[in-house]
């Protein structure tokens, strides 16, 4: 049951082949992790999928709909929502105003000029519910930029959740987090899986193995291997390029 499919995706930056004929499949209800060493092209792939960059070739299909050529906001409409590796929130606004803006995006047109937004209780209810979902209900009046890092990451996730996506793209949600925050973010992501499929890009291997149903390994812009956690852990090349110690890599080289 494939929900989301990437086929033969290519992106070049000059002579650099940042995304090299990538195929990827996320099944309904699945948490699919995308791992790979620095510079493997993970962020490029995320930006291609979310529509920040245009691919040079290939197809992206979400729930039977080709979204390859759609602008970003139409992809969100189609059910694809994302978070950012570098926290992307409205820093000068309160948490509530952040969430209100997210709620408004999915509650009818924003081409309404005269009625004050603050006179729409439905938006405030949605904002409240989003805050509760990610554990920020007590912080609604705080200025987003003044929150601790972990809370800002949660807010970033909440802004993406407002779209009620079919597929949620999480670009290194644990980036810059200590072990405690990581743990809490892992719990949060785990709690989301009943409502949406998740494509998780993450460096924190503990979190990846705790959460992912399947894992794709990206190296030099290409998918080296895809499979469940056991397959990936046991795959000699993966150990060599990514997980492995130097020793393992040397052994691998000797064996080959």
């Amino acid at each position: 049951m494939s929900l989301f499919k990437v086929e033969g995706l290519v992106k070049r930056f000059g002579a650099l082949l940042a995304t090299d004929h990538v195929d990827l499949e996320v099944r309904a209800g699945e948490i699919h992790a995308l791992i790979g060493p620095n510079g493997a092209g993970k962020s490029t792939l995320v930006n291609l999928i979310s529509g920040l960059h245009a691919p040079d070739a290939g197809r992206i299909v979400l729930d039977g709909v080709a979204i390859t050529g759609l602008p970003m906001h139409r992809r969100v409409e189609a059910g694809l929502s994302r978070c950012f590796q570098i926290t992307s929130i409205f820093r000068d606004a309160t948490v509530r105003d952040n969430l209100l803006l997210a709620a408004q995006a999915h509650a009818g047109s924003s081409m309404r000029f005269l009625r004050p937004r603050d006179a729409e209780p439905a938006l405030f209810e949605t904002a409240q519910a989003l805050a509760e979902r990610v554990g920020l209900a007590g912080q609604l009046e705080r200025i987003a930029g003044a929150l601790p890092h972990g809370a800002q990451r949660k807010l970033d996730v909440a802004l993406a959740l407002a779209a009620r996506p079919k597929l949620l793209l999480l670009d290194e949600p644990m980036a810059g987090m200590g072990p405690e925050d990581s743990e809490r973010m892992t719990e949060l992501i785990h709690s989301l899986r009943s409502d949406m499929a998740i494509l998780l890009i993450e460096h924190d291997m503990k979190a990846v193995f705790a959460l992912a149903d399947r894992i794709s390994v990206l190296v030099y812009g290409r998918v080296l291997v895809a499979g469940d956690a056991a397959t990936i852990k046991g795959h000699p090349q993966v150990q060599a390029v990514y997980l492995g110690t130097e020793e393992l890599a040397v052994e691998e080289a000797a064996a080959a």
Partner: protein, 329 residues
């Protein structure tokens, strides 16, 4: 984003007081020997209108357009073209000027809004220059020499626009109406989306906002308001020349918004008023009025980097909890 929620009582009645004083001015002016200044304040109100429109896209939308006088010109010449064709009702002339300016702004926006930063400044300037040279080349309407209105447009309803105070009150009413609409718009869904785009465009796209369409709508609204200002300016002066749309006029409008307060509710009008007053006073003392005006502007920018309105509002900031949002908790 939340500035307006902290508005104290003083901030709420100040605009009404200002409106009352402005409304009474033509009645008091003769007694004070200030008759001449009725026309002067009227002109200031018209520029305040244009500056408020520019502040909507510059301050709330983050679009530094350096071609706003071009839309004033479109409105002005739309009126002139219709007058030249025999139309004399303000009910047709003014709405036509607004509609044409909005349309031209939308077309220019289709191209210009694909760029950002310095490129956006340059491309809006380039379009405004094109409009300027079109006006210069329009021989029918006087080209460089400009065009004299044979008479002021008619309004009906027993209002004679040739009567100076009447025109003043009509301009004031339009100004107040547009300000009321703009201030509502900044608090609406559209206004929140617009400031969201200003603060974090990528995130707004990622949340599903049709960013381009929203910015285009704001740009066309600002163009429409500039068009109204242009039509009122010709009505006021009974004359127009391409000078109204010279690029230095566009720059002056930006300066007005900056000294008033970028993204402040009353930043445009306050800035326009202060600028035009300063211009008037320095002109009374010297022909070389640019220099003292420049020095005064430097002082304002150094002493009030966030605009004069920000200085006037620098008061208690402890009423955050009293926002209407608090009611839903």
């Amino acid at each position: 984003m939340t500035q307006d929620k902290h508005a104290s009582a003083a901030a709420r009645w100040t605009p009404w007081l200002a409106l009352a004083l402005l409304g009474a001015f033509p009645l008091l002016a003769p007694a004070l020997g200030l008759d001449f200044y009725v026309g002067f304040v009227r002109r200031a109100l018209i520029f305040a209108l244009a500056a408020a429109g520019l502040n909507f896209i510059l301050g709330f939308g983050g679009m530094a357009a350096l071609g706003h006088a071009g839309f004033i010109g479109v409105g002005a010449y739309a009126l002139v073209a219709l007058v030249n064709a025999g139309v004399d009702s303000a009910w047709i002339l003014w709405p036509a000027a607004v509609a044409l300016a909005a349309g031209v702004a939308a077309l220019i926006g289709l191209v210009a809004l694909r760029t950002r930063g310095v490129y956006f400044i340059m491309i809006t300037l380039a379009f405004a220059q094109m409009l300027y040279f079109i006006a210069v080349s329009l021989r029918v309407y006087g080209g460089d020499d400009g065009y004299n209105l044979p008479a002021r447009p008619t309004l009906g309803l027993g209002l004679d626009l040739a009567h100076e105070p009447t025109l003043y009150w009509v301009v004031l009413a339009l100004f107040a109406g547009v300000m009321a609409l703009l201030n509502r718009a900044t608090l609406s869904r559209f206004g929140h989306a617009l400031t969201g785009i200003r603060d974090n465009e990528t995130r707004m796209q990622a949340m599903g906002y049709p960013v381009f369409r929203l910015r285009l709508a704001a740009f066309a609204i600002a163009g429409a308001i500039a068009g109204l200002a242009g039509a009122l300016l010709v009505t006021n002066n009974s004359f127009v020349s391409p000078a109204v749309m010279h690029w230095t006029q566009s720059a002056t409008l930006i300066v007005m918004v900056v000294i008033g307060g970028v993204g402040r509710r009353w930043g445009g009008p306050v800035g326009a008023g202060v600028w035009i007053l300063l211009e008037e006073f320095t002109k009374q003392y010297t022909d070389y009025w640019h220099l003292p005006l420049g020095v005064l502007l430097l002082l304002i920018v150094f002493l009030a980097p966030r605009g004069l309105v920000a200085v006037l509002q620098r008061k208690p900031r402890a009423v955050i909890a009293a926002s209407p949002a608090g009611a839903t908790e």
